[in-house]
């Protein structure tokens, strides 16, 4: 059963909303500037719209519906109190360009959030402007570039990323004009130190790492790595996507990192919103503070204001001050949890991941590591060799059992990768049932391959022809009756 498009539900001259009548004289638009062609927007009643989007929501799976162990994305529970504070009128009804004396609450909240994030990461200060993780990477690397240029190190044009890195890392580096060089992963699943040594020279601007890495393993040699990179004149960039493993246990600054971005939509429980808005604050060590985006938020005698006076700043990276309502949610979460609670969250995230790993280890290959941090990567390669059932098939099987599958085919260094991140939010019995479900699916792979190749069967649609979608792209609705768009 398909849900019609909002345009297909439209009925000529139907109305869903009325504006107050205009109480001032109308004015004309100069003909030379006037729009000629009306836009074909839908015409619906309010109830039509309410039902349509309610039905669409029923056809969407979120954390509120079930276990969502999507590795690297930290799909933890999004507390409802966050939504409540983010909808306070005194936050939603303030304009970004109001005088600072009328937005002291907003500025104070942002200032305190930066303080808390500085404590968690060990960094000196930061900026809340970036809108997501990748935007934070872009910002952080821009800072690194500016720092090198200011120190007559402009020739440093290389950024090292591990082969296991998330795609945004090399993409963000390239965006800043850096050349990307890859460092290998060794048989432990950690940075290959020999490979690293070979890359370290005066062309290196930075290395981008996430720790724990994308295999869910802690880079044990991090201090050694940091020393080597620093000695070569490079800086260390920390991709905070995996911070949920280590809050209160280890701090990026203490590991030797110079720049950090955090994903507030991951670690700090602001919802993912179907792919955003998130927030990707950047925090830096002391020598890099002058390069942070403008404006800074400062507190003088208990009064908060923006400070635009930084001659070394890289400038603005977003329109206003960041995804403010996301910042309100993250701040609310931090207040609710306390620093102690954040530490406990990480400890339980790691406990949950190891528990699930213990239950799944005999089912699929576990190529790297023994224990894991907050997530782990299994491989369905042996299963595929034996039965023809792939990681994708297992993922699709999980859909029929009301689960969001783990991340699949990432990191790229593991064949048939399945990356599980249960987060601290799941209870023991939820993990037990998930493990049982996977066991059942893998049994099915051995007895009735066709079932998994057909899966999912109980979802509103079946597997989608992605090749067709890319080969003959249909990216918008075009009304049938007319020939033009």
């Amino acid at each position: 059963m398909i849900e019609p498009l909002v345009f297909e539900l439209s009925r000529c001259a139907r109305r869903g909303y009325d504006y107050p009548s205009c109480d001032v004289p109308q004015v004309d638009v100069p003909v030379a500037l006037k729009r000629m062609k009306a836009a074909a927007l839908p015409e619906l009643s309010e109830l039509d719209v309410v039902r349509h989007f309610s039905r669409l929501s029923n056809r969407t799976f979120g954390v509120d519906y079930g276990v969502y162990p999507l590795g690297s994305c930290t799909m933890k529970y999004n507390p409802k109190i966050n939504e409540k504070t983010a909808s306070l009128e005194a936050f939603t009804h303030i304009h970004p360009l109001q005088d600072s004396d009328t937005v002291q609450g907003a500025l104070k909240l942002m200032y305190r959030l930066l303080e808390a994030l500085s404590t968690v990461t060990g960094m000196s200060w930061g900026s809340l402007q970036p809108s997501a993780g990748a935007h934070g990477e872009y910002t952080g690397l821009k800072i690194i570039k500016a720092y090198h240029l200011a120190n007559n190190q402009g020739h440093r044009n290389r950024v090292i990323v591990p082969v296991s890195a998330h795609g945004t890392n090399p993409a963000s580096a390239a965006l800043n004009g850096f050349e990307i060089v890859e460092v290998a992963t060794d048989e432990r699943g950690l940075i290959d130190l020999t490979s690293l040594d070979a890359l370290l020279d005066d062309r290196i601007a930075a290395i981008m790492l996430t720790n724990p890495n994308t295999l869910g393993l802690f880079e044990r040699d991090i201090v050694l790595i940091a020393n080597k990179v620093h000695q070569a004149g490079g800086l260390l960039y920390y991709d905070g996507a995996n911070l949920n493993a280590i809050m209160g246990m280890a701090r990026p600054k203490d590991m030797g990192f110079d720049v950090v971005h955090l994903n507030l939509h991951k670690t700090f429980s602001t919802p993912h919103g179907g792919g955003g808005p998130g927030a990707g604050p950047v925090l830096v060590s002391k020598p890099l503070v002058p390069y942070l985006p403008k404006p800074d938020i400062v507190c003088v005698d208990g009064t908060y204001r923006f400070d635009w006076d930084s001659s070394l700043s890289i400038g603005k990276v977003a329109g206003f001050w960041g995804n403010f309502l996301v910042l309100v949610r993250a701040y609310t979460y931090i207040v609710r949890m306390g620093l102690h609670g954040l530490r406990e969250a990480s400890r339980h995230a790691v406990l949950n991941a190891n528990y699930l790993l213990a239950k799944l280890e005999d089912l699929l290959d576990h190529p790297y590591g023994n224990f894991c941090m907050h997530e782990f990567v299994l491989s369905a390669q042996s299963l595929k060799d034996e039965t023809g059932v792939s990681a994708l098939d297992i993922a699709k099987g999980l859909l029929d059992c009301n689960y969001h599958p783990p991340t699949i085919y990432f990191p790229l260094i593991v064949h048939e990768a399945m990356m599980f991140e249960p987060t601290e939010s799941e209870s023991m019995e939820n993990l037990d049932i998930l493990a049982d479900t996977l066991r059942m699916l893998i049994q099915t792979a051995r007895t009735d391959v066709a079932v998994l190749k057909r899966a999912p069967e109980h979802t509103v649609i079946g597997r989608v022809d992605e090749v067709l979608a890319a080969k003959s792209p249909v990216l918008r609705y075009v009304r049938k009756e007319t020939t033009e768009g």
Binding site: H95, G122, G248, G276, W308, K316, G485
Partner: protein, 450 residues
Amino acid sequence: MIPYLPHTEAERDRMLQAIKVASVDELFDDIPQDVRADAALFVQKGLSEAETLSHVVELAKLNRALIPFLGMGSYDRIIPAAVASLSSLPAFVTAYTPYQPEISQGLLQAIFEYQTMMCELTGMDVSNASLYDGWSAAAEAASMMLASKRKSSTVLVSDTVHPFMIEVLQTWAKGTDVLIRIIKTTGGSFTITSLEGTLQDSVAGLIVQNPNRYGIVEDYSSLSELLHQNGCQLAISSDPVSLALYKSQAEWGADIAFGDTQPLGLPISFGGPSCGYLAVRKEMMRKMPGRIVGQSVDNRGNRAFVLTLQAREQHIKRERATSNICSNQALAALTTTIHLSLIGWEGLAEAARQSIAKAKYLADALTSIGGMELAWKQPYWCEFTLRFSSRELMERMLDNLKQSGILGGVRLACLTGNPDDNNLLVVAVTEKRSKAELDAYIEIARRSAL
């Protein structure tokens, strides 16, 4: 109790047994002692939910939600009540990027609807699924133009675009081979003559904004032809509400249309989240940044929606991707889709018409007082720029307005840092401002000018 952790003591013990470790600490053995965090830094306990709420409410009380005649990229417009109810449905809020289409059809379909609406509004062929905001969209537009012309390195930007757009573009270009060249204009709006001598081979295209930073509606007659003749592209940023009345980007012959959908259903919220839109001509489809939803069929023969053209994206192309964007502003794009579904074309046009009528009413009254005049004579829309005879008068008026709970406008010099702008105030009026509010503004302005 630690909020949001379901584990009982007994369960924790059983889990540790299953893992075959004695304590949670053992699971952290891989972290070397010398980088262990000082546990003493992490002892502060959290607050109960009720206390948390009071704490944040106390902070919120330090803000003053006043009647804003402020615009410059963020507009206080009427939002139907149903928008918030629908955009806060838990599935929309707590899903992530729809990697698994079978359980994400609702979200994918809504984004497909969003893309269609953006194409309709701009007149362009294809739209992506959203970008961070209208300003980062400017950088993406610049990046597309550069990618479309071999050996190009320069993007021209009119000095009448939002000052922050210039700043974001300059940051973006910093440390790379890209040159952002600002086109100087005189008289408050971009004109084709200001391009004279600028269209060298190295130039990929031009970015303009309509209505511009002063609220003036610019005239781009013959502009796209001139640019295209010189192998350059045209990118126009527009407030989407203005598109209900004024020529769309496609009608001006643009290659790229972009901007921010904040005025379509998103509260002003201290500037974020908003939502960047980007729509282009079909030939540029595969150069677009970010997520794109496409229509396909499933294995049961049903229409189905899915993320598509992913070969452009960072998770596949890595350093050769068209952009680094991963998470975008999906929920904000969805909110815009709901808003437009409710108000329709008629509602959008009504909001725009009322806004310009109210703006003119206010501008006419203010400029008849004396001491303030329109900074430029060209047609403006719902935002206009006043030039005051003195800075003191402007500040006195703004002070008096603030005391009556009204935010009178944006001091342009605060955004540009340009002393020439010292006496300029940009005033925005939306359909949400009642006649009583306008009259109150006028009355206070009159008093201030005495």
